[in-house]
């Protein structure tokens, strides 16, 4: 990897870490000021919306081979979180008062302020062992909490989606296409545990590899 690519990755991941740090800070601030779940959600939502939008770049990173990730997987994960943020939480203001909304943002930002710094440090070639430990341990409680929050929000969103017909297309039309967003979200809800278990178990497996017994002497720097 060239020096320019490396520098770019360090800068990109640092910027994401900062953005999600701001999100977490604003959620904490709203709660400290005596706000409820709706205030906490609305405080964090703008920065989350920005960082998630910028995160679309990661699909390009994977597609160009800048990072070793699979482009399709990256796209699907970005799509999933974007859907939860823009087309569920942001689309239905009545959901903001639900604690699951603020919890979802909190879990995302808690996870990202560990994950992105790890990426940045790894790209810089200077990743301390404690950061690797944190990256491969913090997800253990955060992932399930975040997934649960997302699922609660989707479930609570269904009546509003049905009543308002949002993001839905009906026949007849020139493209001979119909899309019922409520049905789509119901299918997504059913698939969610299966999809997220796949990611969770992959991370657990990686954890065993990365945090396993120390390498024999002379193996060089870790990660």
């Amino acid at each position: 990897m060239g020096a320019a690519s490396r520098a770019y990755l360090v800068a990109y991941n640092a910027a994401q870490a900062a953005g999600w740090g701001v999100c977490l800070y604003q959620i904490a601030g709203a709660l400290a000021a005596g706000g409820g779940p709706a205030e906490a959600y609305r405080a964090g939502a703008p920065s989350a919306a920005w960082m998630q939008c910028i995160a679309a770049l990661e699909i390009l990173h994977a597609a160009t081979g800048l990072v070793p990730s699979n482009a399709l997987n990256t796209f699907m994960q970005w799509l999933g979180r974007s859907n939860a943020l823009y087309r569920i939480a942001q689309a239905i203001p009545e959901l903001h008062a639900n604690p699951a909304a603020a919890l979802m943002l909190a879990c995302w930002s808690l996870g990202e302020v560990v994950r992105y710094p790890w990426y940045a440090a790894t790209a810089a070639g200077a990743c301390p062992r404690w950061l690797t430990w944190l990256r491969y341990t913090a997800f253990i409680p955060i992932y399930p909490a975040g997934v649960a929050a997302e699922m609660v929000l989707m479930w609570r969103a269904l009546p509003f989606i049905r009543r308002r017909g949002i993001f839905s297309v009906a026949m007849p039309n020139a493209a001979n296409f119909a899309f019922d967003y409520a049905t789509f979200i119901t299918v997504v809800l059913a698939a969610y545990p299966y999809l997220w278990w796949g990611l969770y178990s992959t991370l657990l497996r990686q954890r065993r590899k990365k945090l396993g017994p120390a390498e024999p002497a002379g193996a060089g720097k870790r990660d």
């Binding site: 026949m171 007849p172 001979n176 119909a178």
Partner: protein, 307 residues
């Protein structure tokens, strides 16, 4: 020369079985002997490799036709064994994955009361819908015919999991496209336009068939290596068969004016692009123009002017 002992171990090093065999025997015969001692592992399930060289993750795969001696195997040599899982014949998979769409789409056409139970009035099908149904069913009938009469497969079997994976893809998309193409609220595009497009699609299907026949004739019976395809569209496109197939679906999607048709076309094109890139690179690497080998000519991978 007397028989030699080959030690067959799993990739984690655990011994599987020792086989007594003549050094001039083939790998295929070795597989039969392994099967004789471990009845679960019929030859199609076995992948045998030489031990990996220092620094590499896995060793060279042993081809069935090679003799043990030619691979440098002698008395006491170690061979690595991998279980490929339950295998199923290529023809079997192809038949089932094509039979499904061939009957699923017409089911939506002929039985609206089942698939659109909420529709109180189901209008008569338009000409475009009728032709679309015939085209779709005919396409998959062609594919089944080619499976048994044209295609010569490079491998005999694949893991049985592929059957479920492939059938999910084909059956799922067949239902997705058929549901909207045969919907009671379907809006037909102008008839004449669609009929022309169906005709062009059929021409592409015939082109695809011709490509398949050319590919079939590349290998003489028993040959398993790669050859440079030539003639017809292959002179310009490495995977000319994929090109013709995609163009057929583009025409189908335009003829029926269904977004789902377009989605199906895009999904298929995406997968074929991955395969085409692999095949193109393989042929370029194999036919590098050195040591008397021909040089692979400059060609498009799959779509002229684009890729």
């Amino acid at each position: 020369m007397g028989a030699i002992t080959i030690k067959v171990v799993t990739r984690s090093g655990k011994p599987l079985t020792d086989v007594q065999i003549g050094p001039e025997a083939t790998v295929g015969e070795l597989k039969k002997k392994i099967h004789a001692s471990k009845s679960k592992y019929y030859p199609a399930r076995q992948r045998l490799t030489l031990p990996p060289k220092a620094g590499t993750k896995s060793g060279e795969v042993l081809k069935d036709s090679a003799t043990l001696a030619s691979q440098g195997l002698k008395d006491g040599s170690v061979i690595y064994f991998k279980d490929l899982g339950i295998q199923i014949g290529y023809s079997t998979v192809f038949f089932f994955e094509y039979f499904g769409p061939m009957v699923i789409y017409p089911a939506f056409f002929f039985f609206p009361q089942i698939f659109y139970p909420w529709a109180t009035a189901v209008p008569e099908k338009t000409l475009v819908q009728k032709v679309a149904c015939a085209y779709w069913a005919g396409h998959y009938a062609k594919r089944i015919g080619e499976t048994f009469l044209v295609h010569v497969f490079g491998h005999d079997t694949m893991p049985v999991f592929n059957l479920f994976k492939n059938c999910s893809y084909y059956y799922g998309f067949a239902a997705y496209v058929a549901y909207f193409a045969n919907h009671p609220d379907y809006t037909s595009p102008p008839e004449k336009q669609s009929l022309v497009l169906f005709a062009v699609a059929t021409l592409f299907q015939l082109a695809n068939l011709r490509c398949h026949i050319i590919l079939k004739n590349l290998r003489k019976p028993g040959e398993k290596g790669y050859k440079i395809p030539s003639g017809f569209l292959f002179n310009y496109i490495t995977c000319a068969n994929y090109y013709a197939e995609i163009m057929g679906w583009v025409c189908f999607s335009l003829a029926t004016r269904t977004l789902t048709g377009a989605l199906f076309t895009i999904a298929g094109a995406y997968q074929m692009a991955i395969w085409a890139q692999g095949k193109h690179r393989r042929l370029q690497k194999l036919f590098d123009g050195k040591d008397g080998r021909p040089k692979y000519p400059k060609r498009w991978i799959m779509i002229p002017l684009l890729f």
